[in-house]
């Protein structure tokens, strides 16, 4: 069933244009006095909401054992193929016989989709709220296992950006220009 929509017939008032123009001007002037949304980045930092997908981390159990068992489900799920894992027999004696000897994520290839987090059967890999981790070279943006565990230490207790000392220098990367 087709619906016939009557097109709007402009009245004389409309054809004058001026009321509409004035309305438009009112809109912009209202915005002129409105609260601004700009966050002045290096001085102020946006605090991402829960569920924000930023830099990855590798979780640990309270007894320091890495949660990851190197099953490579994250690598299999990753659409940009940026996770590379070398597994090995785990040094802990707790029934989980595997652990990652190396765990590298190429942060430049990553699209921060969070599929790895969803695929992980152990809740080991997680995307944190950290978003400003730019660097000076491509090589420095391949984060390794120690780096990922370092991110865990940074973010396990508190949102990274609500901490007092949250300068990028505290990130587990090299940040000086080389």
């Amino acid at each position: 069933m087709a619906t016939i929509i009557k097109s709007y017939e402009p009245t004389f008032w409309d054809k004058l244009y001026f009321p509409a123009l004035l309305k438009g001007l009112m809109v912009t002037i209202k915005h002129f006095f409105r609260q601004k949304v700009t966050i002045q980045y290096p001085d102020e930092r946006h605090i991402p909401p829960d569920g924000y997908r930023g830099l990855h981390r590798l979780n640990k159990y309270p007894d320091e054992r890495i949660k990851c068992v190197a099953c490579e489900m994250c690598a299999a799920a990753c659409p940009s193929n940026c996770i590379s894992i070398i597994p090995g027999p785990s040094p802990w004696d707790d029934g989980k016989e595997r652990y990652p000897v190396r765990f590298d994520i190429n942060l430049l290839r990553c699209i921060y989709c969070g599929f790895c987090e969803m695929a992980c059967p152990e809740g080991a890999i997680e995307l944190t709220e950290i978003y400003d981790f730019s660097n000076y070279s491509r090589d420095d943006l391949v984060i390794d296992k120690d780096g990922l565990l370092g991110v865990y230490e940074l973010t396990k207790k508190q949102n990274y950006y609500t901490k007092k000392s949250h300068s990028p220098a505290s990130l587990p990367f090299k940040t000086e220009r080389t």
Partner: protein, 528 residues
């Protein structure tokens, strides 16, 4: 011939085969665990249940053979048997069986090395329930080592008994058995008789789940990360067909590939773990020329020219030494190049082992002795005396990198030579004596054909990349040959060499890599 119907598909089958075999042969999938084509049927897993018309209960298809029935008893007037694999009862039964199998299964796929090639995973995904109703604690049993290369994870075992039947019927060594009964059953060994035979590795392959694992591969990688190349084992003349699994230029494991004319479904442990030999060798991957006690690196053009000059100056007094480890093509090209005489590097011999199932480890532990003999007409029988009688001044050795003790006769020969050209991938004892070393390819890098001791020509395929400046052996030989003889043929690929080989040795005519494919061609009574 019985005429049967499975799921609306009608076909004739040979009398006496089972429903499962008939279905598998005709592309109908029936899930199964305990059935293995070469093992005795036990019908213990109940995974293969199907509904056979006229039978009151579901039947294990692996254990139901098909026969012919009298004309008046035929179903619908024409079928000897009508089987349904998709009825609700069958589907429900599969669910039930899987639920039972998973009761005490740890479901630790994330750490299980079978994940990705596990039939329990696949069938549960396809036919099973998404959830378990088993709320109680699962039984946990420790993993045990069954032998030096095999561990068993008791929790994951589904007690299909394939492994037990393997040691009984195929290897005939009887190490494995099912201990205890019922809930306490487990696959086990006697204390003083561990699983130590040269076929032990196969039990990990035939185990449908991740219960039996090769310690060599455990926690090394993931199945789906690996590239699979069908190739041929290079540890004896039987020429077992294998799949080579590699990732990022590293081989992770070898598994047997089905070929009923050669190895059936299995391979021996010598070949299975043999690839490790090549992992830590001192590689030569640049052309070298002797400079006093050491070597200088030179470029290929120069190396080829120097080699050709040496051979030319010797005036026909250069002997070629072929190797039973090299491909037919390389050996053939060396024969083509040398117009003096040909000798061979000593072959490796060991005891021949035959298993009750007919599986055989050849006494000849060099993979291509037969091929080498086939395509190098007139190999010198007694090398040292012939070298003396023909006054040979130089040797071109196609070295194979095998660690072998050279006997005194060889040492004497080598000491007398004016020059020694060694084509090799490793710094072997021979290469250390050489005047020129030409870097060829290592096994798993090289490609070509080899002929097993039953005269079956098979395709050896590369899994690893060529390192640094090394060149394929056939190409080096062709380049030297071209430098020696401006009229010599230029081969563009291996197939060209094989055609040339066929021209000289009628046995090999009409062969191409494409025709050899994955199953090989028998040279005697060749069927093309």
């Amino acid at each position: 011939m019985p005429f049967i119907k499975i799921d609306e598909k009608e076909f004739e089958v040979a009398k006496g085969i089972t429903v499962l075999q008939a279905a598998l042969a005709n592309g109908i999938e029936i899930p199964h665990y305990c059935f293995h084509p070469v093992l005795e049927v036990v019908g213990s897993c109940r995974m293969c249940l199907v509904q056979v018309e006229g039978m009151p209960k579901l039947q294990a298809s692996c254990n139901t053979s098909i026969g012919e029935v009298a004309l008046d008893k035929k179903l619908d007037g024409k079928y000897d048997m009508v089987v349904n694999t998709q009825t609700d009862a069958v589907k429900q039964e599969r669910k039930n069986i899987l639920e039972f199998l998973l009761l005490n299964h740890p479901l630790d796929c994330p750490v299980c090395d079978q994940a990705g090639e596990c039939y329990l995973q696949d069938y549960t995904f396809k036919y099973g329930n998404a959830h378990s109703r088993f709320k109680e604690e699962k039984r946990v049993r420790p993993s045990e080592s069954l032998g030096s290369n095999i561990v068993i994870n008791q929790d994951r075992c589904i007690l299909c008994s394939r492994c037990v039947r393997f040691t009984r019927e195929i290897s005939g060594t009887n190490e494995l058995f099912v201990q205890n009964r019922g809930y306490h059953s487990k696959v086990s060994i006697l204390k003083d008789k561990p699983l130590e035979n040269l076929m032990a590795g196969n039990v990990a392959d035939i185990c449908p789940v991740g219960a039996l694992l090769n310690t060599d591969y455990i926690h090394k990688n993931r199945f789906w990360n690996l590239d699979t190349i069908p190739s041929v084992c290079q540890d004896c003349s039987a020429g077992c067909n294998v799949d080579v699994f590699s990732q990022r230029d590293e081989i992770f494991r070898l598994t047997p590939r089905e070929n009923h004319d050669v190895n059936g479904y299995f391979m021996c442990d010598i070949g299975r773990y043999g690839f490790h030999r090549f992992e830590e060798i001192e590689r030569v991957n640049q052309p070298l020329v002797r400079n006093g006690k050491s070597f200088d690196v030179i470029d290929w053009a120069e190396a080829i020219q120097k080699t050709a000059d040496l051979i030319e100056q010797s005036n026909g007094k250069t002997a070629g030494i072929v190797s039973p480890f090299h491909t037919n093509e390389s050996n053939f090209l060396l024969g083509l190049m040398i117009n003096g005489m040909l000798g061979m590097l000593p072959a490796i011999q060991a005891e021949e082992i035959t298993y009750p199932s007919g599986f055989r480890i050849s006494a000849d532990r060099s993979p291509n002795q037969r091929g080498m003999n086939n395509i190098c007409g007139g190999l010198a029988e007694d090398l040292s005396s012939e070298i003396k009688t023909q006054a040979i001044r130089g040797l071109y050795i196609l070295d194979d990198g095998v660690d072998r003790e050279l006997d005194d006769a060889w040492k004497e020969i080598l000491a007398k030579m004016d020059f020694l050209i060694v084509q090799s991938y490793a710094m072997t004892d021979l290469a250390k004596l050489a005047h020129i070393v030409l870097p060829g390819l290592a096994p798993y890098e090289r490609e070509g054909t080899i002929t097993n001791d039953q005269d079956r020509i098979q395709w050896l395929r590369p899994s690893l990349s060529i390192k640094a400046e090394s060149k394929p052996d056939w190409e080096i030989l062709m380049l030297v040959n071209n430098a020696l003889n401006k009229k010599a043929e230029n081969f563009t690929g291996l197939d060209d060499v094989i055609i040339k080989m066929g021209e000289q040795f009628p046995n090999y005519s009409g062969i191409t890599l494409f025709k050899i494919a994955t199953q090989g061609i028998a040279l005697n009574g060749k069927k093309m």
